[in-house]
């Protein structure tokens, strides 16, 4: 029982990252109908930005030739917040400059997000190389920073990451339900033409959606970096799980995508822990098989099946 509990605790940090990416993907797809395949790379890039802030004027992490922009090393929280702000600006810029002119054609838009995927990957490799780096966790991470519950260890940073993600997504829900901007966002996702007719500035709302999605991705990257370290391919695996989790929410429900993120992390940990022929690398494959199975049995994921989900 304590082993089961330990594995459940272990899945929390990864689950938070998958959930955050899934929510970000769902938000963009829901509002624009575009699958942002660069979501993971945006998060990876933001993590490197956080690393630049956190490292200060280090010759290994200098941004171009100008390190004065950053000054002294920032605390990890400050670095992550700085990266979130830059990432949100980058998300808004991406929507305005790259996506909006071609948003009418989904193939071109997906192609553009893939272009961004490659561009960010190339930029990071050429700017900072491909070696593994360490950002550190914003939460206490020593061997004593834990609670012992039922013979299992619950680490403070796992709890911190999970609580932070839940709090941020709770704030996002409040933003959507209690503010005018949120109302406009819901109107646009529900009926874009109708929103235009009642005077909502759809383009601004979409830009806000991309900015928020990029910010959530940056937060996920910054928080999980303490667990998995920073390297150019750090988000590949997370993106796949994030996409799978978003699928559980029918790509349209951030709440179900969030739940899906934790479900997939739980599944990953349990398969790796209890099934003898599944090692930690191949859990990805089993998760994919589960995803295919879910799509076979229930194409709409955990979403209630509506008319729009009928066979096309």
């Amino acid at each position: 029982m304590s082993l089961f509990l330990q594995r459940t605790f272990d899945s929390l940090a990864n689950g938070s990252a998958y959930a955050a990416l899934a929510v970000a993907i769902s938000m963009v797809f829901r509002s624009t109908g575009i699958l942002n395949l660069a979501q993971g790379q945006l998060a990876m890039f933001s993590t490197y930005i956080a690393l630049v802030f956190a490292t200060g004027p280090s010759p290994y992490m200098k941004f171009s030739s100008n390190t004065d922009l950053v000054g002294a090393a920032w605390p990890v929280w400050g670095a992550i917040l700085g990266a979130i702000v830059i990432s949100m600006l980058l998300g808004a810029f991406t929507e305005r400059v790259i996506i909006r002119p071609i948003s009418a054609d989904p193939v071109a838009a997906v192609g553009a997000t893939l272009g961004l995927y490659l561009l960010l990957g190339a930029f990071v490799r050429k700017q900072w190389g491909g070696r593994t780096m360490f950002l550190g966790s914003p939460f206490p991470q020593t061997v004593d920073d834990r609670w012992d519950i039922g013979g299992a260890r619950l680490w403070h940073d796992s709890v911190g990451i999970t609580v932070t993600m839940i709090a941020v997504l709770g704030l996002l829900a409040i933003l959507q339900r209690q503010t005018k901007a949120g109302l406009a966002f819901r109107a646009v996702t529900s009926n874009r033409t109708g929103s235009l007719l009642v005077g909502i500035r759809v383009s601004r709302v979409l830009m806000l959606g991309w900015a928020l999605a990029a910010g959530i991705g940056a937060l996920a990257g910054g928080l999980i970096a303490g667990e998995i370290n920073v390297r150019p391919d750090m988000m590949g695996r997370l993106l796949v799980f994030g996409l799978a989790a978003a699928t559980l929410g029918g790509l349209r429900s951030p709440v179900l995508a969030f739940v899906g993120g934790y479900l997939f992390a739980f599944l990953e940990t349990m398969l790796g822990g209890y099934v003898s022929f599944v090692d930690s690398q191949v859990t990805l494959v089993w998760a994919l098989l589960v995803l295919i199975l879910v799509l076979f049995v229930r194409p709409s994921g955990l979403m209630p099946r509506t008319e729009s989900w009928q066979r096309r």
Binding site: L35, G111, L114, G115, L118, F123, G236, L243, V285
Partner: protein
């Protein structure tokens, strides 16, 4: 745009025969005169042309997005290698194992995802592209698996025993030519037209009795089969396989090139394959891969592919640069041949417009029948 009048035009037929003969002559000349390295690269280009052609079928004929074509090539390579090593199949037939493996995996991925919006196929294939190297590493281990067999040219060819690269080139070219010939024929016929109908007007296609879902499933399976065959063919010159050969970047690069160069003809697959094989060689020759910073970024492969994707998305709306050179849709076929007929047709059109106006005016008057309709 499919050329329907190809068979009936003797000029075009002659041109086609001349071009084909020239291509065969060029292939023979290159095979016997170029260095083994270049011939091997060309063999890989020929094999990958099939994978790109499969992607062209998917992207430009069916309007679907596949981001896992590189992984399907890898599946074909894996199947081809293991069917020889584990089951003792003859090496000449091993690419067919790749073909069948590609069809199978393509169908398995397509079967659930095609019932959903198109984004799901992109999502699943991208996931497959990421997962493939991880699976292969688990199954085959870290070290490369080498083919238990060799391609020795028969004596009647006159190819020397140490010139096996020439024989390998001819084998791959033969496989590729037969496949392209078969698929081109398929696309020119009713199936190709049904593909286009299901891409442009799926509802109308359904109304005309075209099984859109099944057709797309066959299309993805066909594309997967072509990629698998390409993987099997790549094992002819390469002779070994490991998990680093087919990373997810390969799938994304293939998509980028298919999007940029792909058109509505299978021949548009050739430039993509050439760039994919020769661009890294070109970059290494110029020592650009070791440059860092902003200059290194601009000279990097990733930047070039990203720029290609973005430029394609902006300038051609995702249709590819080949579409800019393709023949425009023929002008209205009912255009009258001379002025007199034109004036008569114009008068008739004018009369019809006036009649429509009159009908609309009378329809605006409420009457018993319309009231009855509304209550119904």
């Amino acid at each position: 745009m499919i050329t329907h009048g190809f068979k009936t035009s003797p000029v075009k037929r002659t041109l086609w025969v001349v071009a084909s003969t020239a291509l065969v002559g060029l292939a023979l000349w290159v095979a016997f005169t170029a260095t083994p390295k270049i011939v091997t690269d060309l063999t890989n280009v020929t094999a990958l042309t099939l994978a790109f052609a499969g992607l062209v079928v998917l992207t430009h004929y069916l309007g679907l997005l596949s981001l896992g074509q590189g992984a399907l090539v890898g599946v074909g390579a894996y199947a081809a290698l293991h069917v020889v090593n584990d089951f003792g199949a003859p090496v000449l037939w091993m690419p067919l194992a790749g073909l069948f493996a590609g069809i199978l995996v393509g169908a398995v991925v397509a079967f659930p995802s095609l019932r959903l919006p198109k984004a799901y196929l992109a999502l699943l294939t991208l996931s497959m592209a990421v997962a493939y190297p991880i699976i292969l590493r688990q199954v085959d281990g870290n070290l490369p698996i080498t083919l238990d067999g060799a391609f020795v040219a028969p004596s009647w060819t006159g190819i020397a025993e140490n010139d096996e690269h020439i024989w390998e080139f001819f084998l791959v070219a033969a496989y590729a030519s037969i496949t392209i010939f078969f698929v081109q024929g398929l696309l020119r016929g009713p199936i190709g037209r049904a593909f286009i109908a299901s891409r442009d007007e799926p509802e109308a296609a359904r109304a005309f009795g075209i099984p859109v879902y099944r057709l797309r499933l066959y299309g993805v399976a066909l594309s997967g089969g072509m990629a698998g065959l390409a993987g099997g063919l790549m094992m002819i010159p390469t002779n070994f396989n490991d998990y680093t050969h087919f990373p997810e970047e390969l799938s994304i690069k293939m998509f980028a090139l298919a999007m940029a160069f792909g058109g509505s003809r299978l021949v548009s697959a050739i430039p993509g394959a050439i760039v994919l094989i020769f661009l890294p060689v070109w970059l290494i020759d110029r020592n650009w891969v070791v440059e860092y910073g902003w200059i290194g970024l601009v000279k990097s492969e990733g930047f070039m592919y990203a720029a290609l994707l973005l430029v394609t998305a902006y300038l051609t709306k995702g249709k590819g640069f080949m579409s800019l050179f393709e023949r425009r849709r023929p002008k209205d076929l009912v255009k009258p041949p001379n002025r007199r007929v034109a004036s008569v047709v114009g008068a008739l059109v004018d009369l019809e417009a006036r009649l429509t106006q009159v009908e609309e005016l009378t329809a605006d008057q409420p009457d018993m029948r319309s009231r009855q309709d509304s209550t119904d």
